[in-house]
């Protein structure tokens, strides 16, 4: 039982979204959640840093968002993949790209592992 997460993270490559992680990532996830609104997507697209600052994100969070480092945001930042995926609605990244990055693969490498590589990638 991990003291930090209050949950056994025993499944390799898996970071269970516990309450502790949710608490840690609350600002980050709130920023991403906000992108479900069209006017917020526009504001983020226009001036990413200014928009992220309205959510009080840390320098580390802003950097990882700009670098599209979903792996770090999930593993260290308490990001929920269900919220982070909304960032892609602005940056153009699909779920498969975010997945490939988390696996340490290129999108092409990842797609080659799939039964049927679908066009719709969320």
């Amino acid at each position: 039982m991990s003291k930090e997460t209050g949950h056994s993270d025993h499944i390799p490559g898996t970071f269970v979204f516990t309450g502790k992680r949710s608490a840690k990532g609350l600002k980050l996830n709130k920023f991403a959640y906000s992108l479900a609104k069209a006017e917020n997507r526009e504001a983020f697209g226009k001036d990413p840093v200014a928009y992220m600052d309205t959510f009080g994100l840390s320098d580390w969070e802003k950097q990882k968002i700009i670098e599209k480092d979903v792996k770090a945001l999930v593993e260290e930042g308490g990001g929920s993949i269900y919220m982070l995926i909304k960032i892609g609605a602005v940056t153009g990244d699909g779920l498969a790209s975010m997945g490939a990055q988390q696996r340490g693969e290129t999108l092409e490498e990842f797609m080659a592992t799939r039964n049927v590589p679908l066009k719709q990638n969320t």
Binding site: G13, G19, I81, M83, A96, Q102, Q120, T122
Partner: protein, 284 residues
């Protein structure tokens, strides 16, 4: 009198909704999936289903982690289509039934002692909007009245599989005490195997999915005792949402008539559908 007619389990993968909106139903990649829903929709129509209770989860469309209900049920005349980040899908506003919803609330909270959050305003998410138009008419308007029932499967602690099962039983009790006519389909959504985060991203498990489909039909009580960790281990972390199917299955008779089943595992997620007829309904 209220009556449970059917139970449906269905995936709610967002890409199904995108393919649907892009009219990709006949494309080679998508035909196997959409063809699997045709007999389901035809049979539900034949059974003259009037109401759907849809057990699904919101994915950050209406709910956020500021206030995270374990179970949230709608009690509204209408449920608007949500924007999940990619705009609002061109579907008619989901139609509710105030009287039916409040009856369910009175029974499920007041008699069965579930601690529901009751939503008089509730915005719909792909968790519900992916399966609904594959199962019911929606043009020019919905052919069914819907009660959305959201389950927290995102932020741990989650409700136990047993709690979902008990919720299904409470739903049955509530429907059967409804004094008006209602022919109800209970729909459990989510899954099947998939993992969307970590370096285990992309994990799928067809064997487990097929075993799960067998068990949900024939031996659902065996699923109650499987802890969340085991669901996540077998099917991928995000597949734990499959526990929502137990909310549907717990509302049905132990034995059911198996009507239809289909499975397809293209890219990131095992996509399954099963349709079952309630034994009491079939005997009537």
């Amino acid at each position: 009198m209220g009556k449970i007619v059917a139970g449906v389990g269905s995936s709610h993968v967002p890409s199904i909704g995108s393919a649907f909106d892009q009219k990709a139903q006949e494309s080679p990649e998508w035909k196997p999936l959409f063809d699997g829903y045709k007999p389901a929709k035809a049979w539900l129509k034949e059974k003259e289903v009037t109401h759907a209770i849809v057990i699904y989860n919101d994915h950050g469309t209406d709910f956020f982690f500021d206030k995270c209900p374990t179970f949230a049920m709608g009690a509204a005349e209408e449920y608007p289509i949500g924007d999940e980040g990619w705009g609002i899908r061109d579907l008619p506003t989901v139609k509710g039934d105030l009287d039916f919803s409040w009856h369910l609330a009175n029974s499920i909270i007041g008699e069965s002692e579930f601690d529901l959050t009751i939503c008089q305003e509730m915005v719909m998410d792909h968790g519900l909007l992916v399966p609904l138009p594959l199962l019911f008419d929606f043009e020019p308007d919905w052919g069914v009245k819907t009660v959305p029932l959201h389950v927290n499967v995102l932020q741990h602690p989650l409700p136990t599989p047993n709690r979902l099962w008990q919720l299904g039983q409470a739903i049955r009790k509530a429907v059967e005490s409804y004094p008006e006519d209602a022919r109800v389909a209970v729909i459990g959504t989510g899954g099947l195997s998939h993992q969307l985060h970590g370096n285990r991203f992309g994990h799928m498990n067809e064997n487990w999915d097929q075993e799960f489909l067998d068990m949900i039909e024939d031996d659902p009580k065996k699923l109650i005792d499987i802890p969340h960790d085991v669901w996540m281990e077998r099917g991928g972390a995000e597949s734990v949402e499959m526990i929502m199917w137990l909310g549907m299955r717990g509302a049905l008779t132990q034995d059911v008539n198996k009507v239809h089943r289909s499975y397809y595992m293209p890219m990131l997620t095992g996509m399954g559908i099963t349709v079952m007829e309630d034994k009491v309904a079939s005997a009537a």
